[in-house]
Structure formats: structure tokens, C-alpha cells
């Protein structure tokens, strides 16, 4: 009797817990789902309040077409965003793998000092050095170029990604290296053929953070990219939402926000464990 009652109350507690979980999940997902669904309304309907969120007068991709008519269209800023994000990934991986290997496996003068200097840049907000960055880019002829923006983003990624890669290389046992060296591997083949396969989870993590960081960054792109043809998606969408291209078309905003969100969500869902790993590494240390 008593046992049955405690079992009952446990089931009731379980239901209450899952109900809480489901409601909370819906609250967190609702704005995202609302936007993605509303973006598929015909543009007339998209101007009305999104009640209900799904299209009621037929499914349409009209909003994406409308979005494409503003300024330089959708494809150019999307291309700029893709270029900046992919280049940021490529360069920050190359630079951090080299630096992580260097800091992990060699002894050279000022090694600890250099490592501390690179890590401590994370304490300085880049928002406070944007003006000089602007002047430096002008000086080296990268003013108002996507490549200049890539350099800035790579630099911002370095403290985290070098820290990650140094830890990844530190975790590789030296015996593997010794064995490879006996077989005649030089430094470069050692890094490319022996070490890389062992540290690739760390590389995936830093690549993911670099992509999301570059894809989503707003302030630096807003300040440094003054020419409309160089706008990344967040800058182009903000210009559209501020009414810079005439009356605000909320259907186009929904479509644009969807384009900005979906790559992040897909990458996160596909590579979730690498993301959490990076977060944990930062949190535990």
C-alpha cells in the first residue's frame, strides 16, 4: 500500500518534471521557430502579426525574393559573410595549430612571456581599440576590405584557440613523437602526419568557435566595413531593419534572420559535443 503510493507520487513527480522541461524547451525554441515559419508566409501576410506563426494563405518564398531586392541583394552580403567566416576558420586554425605546437613542444626564449601576452589579450575588450584598428588597417592598405576584417577576427580568436591547441598537443604522449622521430620524421611531417590526426577534435572545436564568432560578429563589421558592397549579413540586415532602404518589410527581416540563424543552428546540432567541449575547457581552467 505504502509502496504503491510512493510509486504513484514518483510517477506524478516525473510527469511534472517532464512537463516543466517541455514547456521551458518550447519557450526557448518559440522565437526561433516563429521566425523560420513566418518567413514562409506570402509577403502580404508576413506584414500582419504572426498569429498563428505558420502560413495560412499558402506557403511561399516571396520574402526571400523581396529581401533580394534591397541594396545589393541577399547574395552579396551572404557571400561576404561566408568568405569572412571561412577565411577566419582557415587562418585561425593554421595560426593556432602552429602556435599551439610551438608552445607545447619547444623551449625558446621568452616562451612563457609570449604565451601570457597572447592569453591576456582576452582581458582587453576589443571594443576599446576599434579606432586604432581602423587606422592600422588603413595604414596597411586593408581599409574597408573583407581580408582586413578576417585578420581582426583571427586575432580575436587566438587567445582561446591557442590555449585549446596547446592543451591538445600537451595531451599527446611524447613517446609517439620519439618513435616517429626515430623513423626519420622531421618537424613538418611530424606535425602534419603524426600530430594532426591526434589533435583533430581540438581543431574541430576551434574551427567551430571561429566560424560562429565571425559569422555573428556585429560591431567591428559595422565600424570597419563602410562600403555597402562589403557589408556582412548582420550589417546589411540592420541597415534594412533601420529603414535605410525605405519602408521596413518585416517579411524580409524574418527571411534575413532565418538565413543568419540556420547555419549556426545546423553547425551546433551537428558538432554539439565539440562545442560543449570548448565551453568546458574554458570553464574548468
Amino acid at each position: 500500500m505504502a509502496q504503491a503510493r510512493s510509486r504513484n507520487s514518483r510517477i506524478r513527480l516525473g510527469i511534472a518534471e517532464h512537463l516543466t522541461g517541455i514547456i521551458a524547451s518550447l519557450l526557448f525554441l518559440a522565437p526561433i521557430v516563429w521566425t523560420v515559419l513566418s518567413a514562409f508566409k506570402p509577403s502580404q501576410e508576413a506584414r500582419q502579426p504572426p498569429l498563428p506563426p505558420w502560413p495560412t494563405t499558402g506557403f511561399s518564398v516571396e520574402n526571400y525574393g523581396t529581401l533580394n531586392t534591397f541594396g545589393d541583394g541577399l547574395w552579396l552580403p551572404a557571400q561576404n559573410s561566408i568568405y569572412v567566416s571561412v577565411m577566419t576558420v582557415v587562418f585561425s586554425v593554421i595560426v593556432s595549430v602552429l602556435a599551439g605546437y610551438g608552445f607545447s613542444r619547444f623551449r625558446f626564449p621568452f616562451k612563457d612571456l609570449l604565451f601570457v601576452i597572447i592569453l591576456s589579450t582576452i582581458m582587453i575588450p576589443f571594443q576599446s581599440i576599434l579606432t586604432p584598428i581602423f587606422l592600422v588597417l588603413t595604414k596597411v592598405g586593408l581599409h574597408n576590405t573583407l581580408t582586413g576584417l578576417v585578420f581582426v577576427y583571427v586575432t580575436l580568436q587566438l587567445p582561446f584557440s591557442i590555449f585549446m591547441m596547446r592543451n591538445a598537443f600537451d595531451a599527446v604522449s611524447r613517446e609517439i613523437e620519439e618513435a616517429a622521430r626515430m623513423d626519420g620524421a622531421n618537424n613538418v611531417t611530424m606535425l602534419l602526419q603524426v600530430m594532426l590526426p591526434l589533435v583533430w577534435p581540438g581543431i574541430v572545436t576551434i574551427a567551430l568557435f571561429a566560424f560562429l564568432g565571425a559569422w555573428n560578429e556585429f560591431l567591428a563589421a559595422l565600424v570597419l566595413m563602410t562600403d555597402q558592397s562589403k557589408f556582412t549579413l548582420p550589417i546589411m540586415m540592420t541597415a534594412l531593419q533601420s529603414g535605410r532602404f525605405g519602408a521596413i518589410d518585416w517579411g524580409a527581416v524574418q527571411a534575413g534572420v532565418t538565413v543568419m540563424m540556420v547555419p549556426c543552428l545546423i553547425l551546433f546540432l551537428a558538432l554539439q559535443r565539440f562545442y560543449i567541449r570548448g565551453l568546458m575547457a574554458g570553464a574548468v581552467k
Binding site: 602552429l98 602556435a99 571594443q127 576599446s128 560578429e217 548582420p234
Partner: protein, 309 residues
Amino acid sequence: MTTITAETAAPARPRKLVGAGRRQWIGLLYVAPAVALVTVFFIVPLGMTAWMSLHNWPLMGEHSYIGLGNYWAILRDTRFWNALRFTGWYTLVVTIAIFAVAFPLAIFIERPRAMTNVYRTAFFMPAVIGFASASLLWSWLLNVDSGLFSPAAYALGLTEKKFNLLATFQPAFWSIIAMVVWKVAGFTMIILMTGLQSIPSELQEAAMIDGAGPFARFRAITLPLMRRTLALALILSVAGSILAFDQFYIILRGGPRNQTLTAVYWIFNQSFVSFKLGYGAALSMILLLILVVLSLVQLWLLRKPEGVD
């Protein structure tokens, strides 16, 4: 390169040392690109900020040295102090709100049960989209005519006419708080969860056997043992909030009536709208100082526990 490795592989001891020594120097080559980038795009701009803050520096034309002139001007710049005070208030409110949501969520997902992973992923989703995307999304939801909240409240009969949430300070401010909590709580939750998971479950069980209630256990075991994680989550939230810009720029444009200009927003206006680059640099130095002090507090809070602590 091959000859060096050949030498090191050879049994002759002195030569091995020479080879090893030379090989170590190569490490500098590996870290050189990183050092170069950090120097050009961080160290040099940092020095320039300090240098520029002592100048009258317009975008075009000559700059002139004015000593501490910009800093004296900051003392009289009431709008900067208002922005700083608003930033402080926002930081306080949003940090409390984020913790009030994230802590229960962390406790909720920390216990393994069916579906935990699904819940955790759902709570975390808004954290991976950018602040700009989230702000654009919410600027639509908060719009009085085409958005969700005002028309929904009107349709449900909660308000007599559509209420513009962004027209006055209080509703606008709390709308931003809601948006930021939605966007950031999942992130803070994961950090707090790592702290919760590091507490040995025997401790909780022992306290339970001793008759400690959930609140007593939370206060006497959970909080003290999570000190480092709590400090980290707190600092990340505070630092992020002090540097807030995107949401206030995109959703409110600093309004209504410039009441939601944050510190970074004011620096942005001075530097890139008014093009007072020297003055903006001096303001940046103040912001930098605040963040560095915060980092020092962080290092102190995150110091390695001594002994049992």
C-alpha cells in the same frame, strides 16, 4: 631539416645537444604568425589608444597634443556618466535575471533522466545564434504593428489598444532584459552545470542522511563547492553586459530619448558618428580600466582553492 634529425638520432652526445638546441629555436618560428597578428592588431592598437587619448584627433586633418584635455572633458561629460550609470544598472539587473533562470535550469538538466539531452539542447539553442540575429528577431517580435507581443496582448483582450513596448523606457528596458535572458541563459546554464557535476554526490547523500533539507544542502554544500564556477559565470555575465551594444543599437537605437545608450554605444557615437577619435580613445581607456579591474577581481575569485576549501 633532415640533417638535424639525423644528427639527433645519432648516438654522439655533444652533437645531439647542439641539434636539440637548434631544434628548440624553431619553436619561435611556429609561434611567429600568432605573435605578429597579436602585435599588429592588438598590442599596437592598444598603445595607440593610450597615445590618441592625449590628442585632439579628428578623422581628417592634423591631430594635436592636448595632454589630459580629453580626460578633463570626460569629467564634465554628463551624458557619458549617464551612459555608464545605465550600463551599470543594466548589468546588475540582467545578471540577476540570467542567474535566476540559468541556475534552476542547470539543476534541472544536471540530474540524468530520459530526455535530459533534448532539454539541454533546446535551452542552449538561442545561445549559438548571434546577438545581432537575436536582436533583429526580437525587434520584429516587439514591433507594435507587425510583431507578436503587442498584437497578441490586444487580441487576448489584455490591452485596450496595441501597446508600443519600445516607446517608453521601462517596457523597452525590460523587453531587452527578456531578450538577453532568452539568448544567454542556456550558456550560463552549461557553465553552472559543469560546477554542479563536479560536486561529489556522496556529500549530498551524507547531508541528506544527516537530515539537511534541500535549502540547507544548497547553502552549505552546493554554493561553497561551486565557488569557482559561480565566479566564472558571474564574471562572464558582468563583462559581457558592460560591453553591451548590439541589442541597444539594433532594437532601440539608444532610445527612447537616448535613455538606453550604453558605455560602448557612447564611445561608438563619439568615435564613429562624431569622429572625435581622440576623445573616443580617452573614453575607451576608462572602459578598458574598468574591464581590467574586473579581470583582476576574476583572477582573485578563480584562484586555486587552498587545502580543503
